[in-house]
Subunit: 326 residues, 2 copies
């Protein structure tokens, strides 16, 4: 059995955590980001045990990885071209093993090595429940993607398929699938990988910046699908004062995804997909679809404020409100 945080004591815990940051980085009350000619994007996300992760489905290294990716995905969906780093607020009961904390920070470090940035600072405390609060910092590139920048006539684009993370969670929890339709083993593997090790789509953002038709201004609506595809569309419409029409035939379903309306609900609202969901002028959309493997057009933005409908029968899509509080 590994030593607990209570046995370790706070000073020793802080010393051990400092090894995950550059030398001397955690030696002061604050972290310093040097002046830069680019604007800074800032994001804060919380992850609570029993709400966002559990020992049953998430190894501690995956908890750390996912917490970082949830934040970096927001930076990507806002136009960040470079990650500066993160701060971490860690709350855990004194009975928590150092092994668990170390593994979480291993996962954090792995994600930072993959996607850039360093551990800049943080704080820790005891509490009744395990809990991570991460703030992430990135430098803005030429395109400020923004939820409020969708315009009627834009096409709705996705950087990749949706529903995999939800399927992965169900497989890990051994809970029922939408229907008994058979799922190929390769899809199962892909789904579990997607759930445990999601990726922020900086690559798709880079393509988007590179492929902009010259005559168009740097204006695009964007968000990520951390709360699901439909919630992403809803967020774009809400912040931009628009509506949307979704193409039932062209939902960004994963390959080999069962053809069924119940499965489509997971594609629409499964959550934690961390893809870019964009609202682009058609020319830019076409250019991006051409250059970005896996991207697709699944609808369009309309002037019909607040209404999201299907293209074939005009039926209203009600974004089932996801509420942590219920």
């Amino acid at each position: 059995m590994s030593i607990t945080l209570a046995e370790l004591g706070e000073a020793e815990l802080l010393d051990r955590l400092a090894r995950f940051a550059p030398p001397g980085q955690l030696n002061d009350d604050t972290a310093l980001l040097p002046p830069d000619s680019r604007a800074l994007l800032v994001n804060t996300d919380v992850m609570v045990e029993g709400v966002h992760f559990s020992d049953a489905t998430t190894a501690p290294a995956d908890v750390g990885w996912r917490a970082v990716v949830a934040n970096l995905s927001d930076l990507a969906a806002s136009g960040s071209e470079q990650v500066e780093g993160i701060t971490v607020g860690l709350v855990a009961p004194g009975t928590t093993s150092w092994w668990w904390v170390e593994q979480v920070y291993e996962g954090i470090s792995e994600a930072l090595e993959h996607f850039g940035g360093t551990l800049l600072g943080g704080d820790c405390s005891t509490g009744k429940q395990r809990f991570l609060s991460i703030s992430a910092f990135g430098r803005l590139g030429p395109l400020r993607l923004h939820r409020a920048q969708a315009r009627p006539g834009d096409l709705l684009m996705s950087s990749g398929p949706h529903g995999l993370s939800r399927l992965g969670l169900a497989l890990l929890q051994n809970t029922p699938l939408p229907t008994a339709l058979s799922v190929p083993p390769t899809l199962k593997d892909q789904a579990i990988r997607c759930h445990q090790r999601p990726r922020p789509r900086f690559d798709a953002l880079q393509t988007l910046v590179a492929c902009k038709p010259e005559q168009l201004p740097w204006r695009a609506g964007g968000t990520d699908s951390s709360d699901g595809l439909l919630a992403a569309v809803h967020g774009l419409c809400r912040s931009s004062g628009c509506g949307a029409v979704l193409r039932r035939d062209a939902l960004p379903r994963p390959d080999a995804w069962p053809c069924d309306s119940a499965w489509d609900r997971w594609c629409l609202s499964g959550g934690e997909d961390f893809e870019l969901v964009l609202s682009l002028p058609s020319e830019w959309a076409e250019s991006w679809r051409h250059h970005q493997p896996g991207s697709c057009c699944f609808g369009a933005i309309t002037a019909d404020t607040g209404r999201i409908i299907w293209n074939d029968d005009g039926a209203l899509l009600q974004p089932s409100e996801f509420s942590h509080y219920r």
Copy 2:
């Protein structure tokens, strides 16, 4: 009885919280800080119910105020001349009343109005325990105060008295005082005010910057006494590889503080004082003491790495390790 967060739902909660931020500010996945020629200071602090605050001693507006001040105090102790703003991660059970949350954000807003900055963004989730994680952002002025910048021969300076917040807590909790020595009513009032509404010492930093003797470089050691005076000295010594000698006759005791070694322990280790604790070349120290009301010299930095001693008998001062985990 006020409506609960579970009854409110997440969308309505976010709408209501958005009213505490500038219009449109919470409309996107991230916040943007424009380019600036000055470096950015970043700090993250967590506050957990039952550890850092409780309904018994802290009104929710004071919880919000104190959470902001704990962060801003770190910015002041690092040389921040302007607060940009904060992000807030809020975790609370669904049974929490909207009234409580609203009051916390009222306190947050009050503190930001007093000391500068705006609510830039955040996240919220349910959880078993109430919990706040705040990240604060400030622009660096000409002096980068740093824990690792103390040097042997420096004088140890404080921007104000220590022990008041601890006394205030004891009075609010109705727990025993160090001894039965009588406490004047004015000291009691001051102590409770200090505990409920601490202030970051941006004013004392401003004086420090303005009064630097011209021939000296911009080098000073500094931290805040959020964990107590002795912990602040210990932090300076640890990060700077130095030791310290403290003047027993010149501890920064509050006016009318009982003369007693037990009371002195609260002055040394009561905690949550949020004063600046500085390590300054003697000429600068003298200039600051002259210009900054309430500041004083209570010791000096030595080359005796890791040893903090009393000036009169040379006895070792052991910073009682404050550990949340025990």
